[in-house]
């Protein structure tokens, strides 16, 4: 994609990406932010970064990998930001929440899994999301900018940690 892309083209690609990959963005948001205000704030931050990234997308990776990379990098920076909710300096009419809960029945086991992912540090959160979403070690290494062997070591540790936690949780009937 060229850097001289028109705004209309950019909007079309953005809308297509959002329709196709919103579930992916939701997963990142839910794993990195706890309160609904934070989740809304992080979601806004991610979509702006995704929108800005469209002209520099060179199709060297799939758009799923690209969007995941942007979303995770934004989430990590967002967590380390001192002042969150930067969007609150917008006019009042822009302050409407963007995300509304839609799930009627909440799966307790999924809530537990998200809770465990939330407890991990920023890097391990990213890896566990990529792992659960079926990315290969090679893809994870590209997204994170580290070697495949390093990914392997970290993934083994995260897997063990999640399995141990789930076994502890089994005793409590979930």
């Amino acid at each position: 994609m060229s850097g001289s892309m028109s705004e209309l083209e950019q909007n079309l690609i953005f809308n297509k990406w959002l329709a196709q990959h919103k579930a992916l963005l939701f997963k990142v948001v839910r794993s990195y932010a706890r309160t609904s205000m934070d989740q809304d704030d992080l979601f806004q931050e991610i979509i702006i970064q995704v929108w800005h990234s469209i002209p520099s997308f060179r199709q060297e990776s799939s758009n799923t990998t690209w969007i995941y990379r942007i979303a995770l990098n934004t989430a990590i920076k967002w967590v380390n930001k001192e002042r969150k909710h930067t969007h609150t300096n917008q006019p009042l009419e822009h302050l409407q929440p963007i995300l509304f809960e839609s799930v009627s029945q909440i799966d307790e086991r999924l809530t537990w899994l998200y809770e465990e992912i939330y407890k991990l540090d920023e890097i391990d959160k990213s890896l566990s999301l990529l792992l659960l979403d079926g990315f290969s070690y090679k893809e994870m290494a590209t997204i994170l900018g580290i070697s495949e062997s390093n990914v392997g070591v970290k993934i083994n540790r995260i897997k063990k940690q999640l399995i141990t936690k789930s076994k502890q949780q089994d005793y409590h009937g979930i």
């Binding site: 702006i48 822009h94 995300l99 659960l132 062997s149 390093n150």
Partner: protein, 194 residues
């Protein structure tokens, strides 16, 4: 639970998305945000450059109009202007370096964020030390021009407060840099310890 079961739990969420997006609010947000640049470094550099250059020229102007100005007041004006020019040159160099970062991986983004944080720490430290010659020139200049001890003491108090606040600002930048260094270390460490 084994990992396969965790995977099944994870995959179950694809059936029904957790949230619905308020499309109207989203579009408004994009329109409002896409032209804005959120960059604390950008803002602090611009403020620094503007304040020092305007203050430097104003001091020169006041000294020329007011014939009673002494050497130290001219030194103060010159130093202030030089500081403004230094921060302008630093900004131009930083913006040039920005284009060198093309690695969009997590490590690449962290390195980029770290280079900005290092720059912020260096700039805030330099600006803090830079207050010392400014305070010295200003106090001697004011004293030489025959102002009362109370006026000099008042100025000293004001500068003391500014020096304290700049130290607090510097420690915020240092803390942010430390956090980024920790993250980078965390991302890379296990290759070394394996």
């Amino acid at each position: 639970m084994e990992f396969d079961e965790l995977q099944k739990i994870w995959d179950s969420q694809t059936k029904e998305p957790l949230w619905v997006i308020n499309e109207e609010a989203l579009n408004r947000h994009i329109l409002a945000q896409k032209s804005q640049v959120h960059h604390i470094t950008n803002k602090s550099e611009l403020v620094l450059t503007y304040v020092y250059i305007v203050a430097g020229f104003s001091l020169f102007g006041v000294n020329i109009v007011n014939n009673s100005a002494n050497l130290f007041m001219y030194l103060l004006a010159g130093w202030t202007l030089a500081t403004g020019l230094y921060s302008l040159i630093s900004r131009i160099q930083r913006l040039k370096r920005e284009h060198e970062f093309i690695d969009r991986s997590m490590l690449g983004e962290l390195k980029h964020a770290l280079s900005i944080a290092t720059y912020q720490v260096r700039l805030s430290r330099l600006m803090r030390w830079n207050m010392l010659p400014i305070i010295t020139f200003c106090l001697i200049g004011v004293w030489e021009s025959g102002k009362s001890v109370w006026q000099v003491l008042g100025l000293l108090l004001l500068f003391g407060a500014a020096y304290f606040v700049s130290g607090w600002e510097h420690s915020i930048y240092k803390g942010k840099k430390r956090e980024l260094e920790k993250l980078q270390k965390k991302l890379q460490e296990e290759v070394v310890t394996q």
